[in-house]
Symmetry: C2
Subunit: 240 residues, 2 copies
DNA sequence: TTTTTATTGTATTATTTTTATACAATAAAA
DNA sequence: TTTTATTGTATAAAAATAATACAATAAAAA
């Protein structure tokens, strides 16, 4: 039984999470920058305990990073290429950070564990960005939100995973009605539309979009939201 | 590195395949009955070699069982419950088949390997049933087609996997236009409709169904098919 | 106080898609 | 030649989607 930091994980399986949030009219995802020299960016990821459901592992990984317990999660795709491993990333990290310390790769159990071929299970999450308090792990320099259409180059196949998640969200959004997980309890119709426009990278006709969403019959209309703007105040809505 | 029959597989990961075929107006899937006492039924499954893409592993597993090289395959869901293992099945098999031979479970490497917690990657395949020549492995009594709506109880979560595959096919069929993989090169419109009706478990209005499929503009009309029935002969079609 | 500006909410019309219905064509047996 | 069961296509009805019009309104400016 292989071990990482004394934990009893399943070997060669990882979980990668694409956490979507919405802020300032933009759809964003959560990405960490590692604290090592070399500008390494990565999706929130982790491994699965021997006695843990894969879904539970994804929830645990995200709770550690976001502080949130009840996150909306969907498993969406397996990334299983034979050459999918951390070797290139680890070697570059070592070269840039431990060049002078004669880092022992060959018999380092951590290096051996991490550099194996990994199959990753991709999950996407939809969160209320305001409720998230990004938590740095011991290897993070930062954990921040990046516009889905302006992502930094990530280690491994992180960018490919993010794109696949977005594609899945496009497929799911109308069927699963899961947009509302990206919003606070009360929200305006414009906010819903902004998210749709980011997800599909196209504009929707406002009047028809409003009709479509209201005709779903899942929203309850609340009070108006006065922002101080010199125009008609929009209504707030919440999920029924 | 754990080993099964001398092969270098990744531990604790399996692939389960739901192979759809169409025959006699019915949608069917391929299921093996194991040659041991106890009526054990199972989906075609297997493991992933260390240096093999997961998709390639699924193709290999299915080529061994069907003889087909270029199978239409889609990865659709991960089955990852923590209690997902073969123990109950293996113990029952041993009880029914090796009760008198004092089977050594504790130090049997095969038993140890197989009885661990397994995460399975579910794939569904669409095949031309006529092109398949089911191949028995050394543990199969039979490998046969079962109507998707009349499946025998399978070991592990085989039935759950089959149902999830059907649900995915319902979601995919119009978007991916993959029905035609279930048919021979030339087919009639009624055959396409039969498949749709099995997949969705409901009837479609013949005239509108025909229009919908033809309007996809992916079919080429060929000669008529004379079956000897005393009615108008339908046209054959093939994919453009 | 009135006007102006930038929205928002709703209604209406136009268009497209989907569904229902009608009916002629036809292969082979009666 | 008639009958039967099915097929192919056309058309009408209904529903869903998209385009357009317009009144309502919050707050600043005149």
């Amino acid at each position: 039984m292989e071990v990482l930091n004394g934990k009893n994980y399943i070997n060669q399986i990882a979980i990668d999470c694409v956490v979507f949030g919405y802020e300032d009219g933009q759809l964003k995802i959560l990405i960490s920058q590692l604290k090592y020299k070399g500008d390494f960016y990565a999706l929130p990821n982790g491994f699965i305990f021997q006695e843990e459901n894969t879904d539970a592992a994804a929830h645990r990984i995200l709770q550690e990073r976001t502080g949130l317990k009840d996150i909306y999660l969907e498993e969406f795709k397996v990334f299983g290429k034979a050459d999918r491993n951390n070797k290139a990333f680890l070697d570059k990290l070592i070269e840039l950070n431990y060049a002078d310390t004669a880092f022992e790769q060959t018999h380092n159990p951590m290096y051996e564990w991490l550099s194996k071929r990994f199959i990753s299970i991709g999950y996407y999450a939809l969160v209320n960005i305001k409720a998230v308090e990004p938590q740095l792990t011991e290897i993070d320099k930062s954990l921040e939100w990046y516009n889905i259409h302006e992502l930094p180059p990530m280690i491994m196949d992180g960018n490919e995973i993010a794109q696949a998640a977005l594609k899945t969200l496009q497929r799911d959004i109308d069927e699963k009605l899961n947009v509302f997980n990206l919003l606070p309890e009360k929200f305006t119709m414009k906010e819903v539309q902004d998210i749709y426009e980011s997800v599909f990278e196209r504009a929707f006709v406002r009047t028809n979009f409003q009709k479509k969403i209201l005709d779903l019959n899942v929203l309850e209309r609340l009070e108006k939201k006065f922002t101080g703007a010199k125009n008609k105040a929009p209504y707030l809505y919440k999920l029924k």
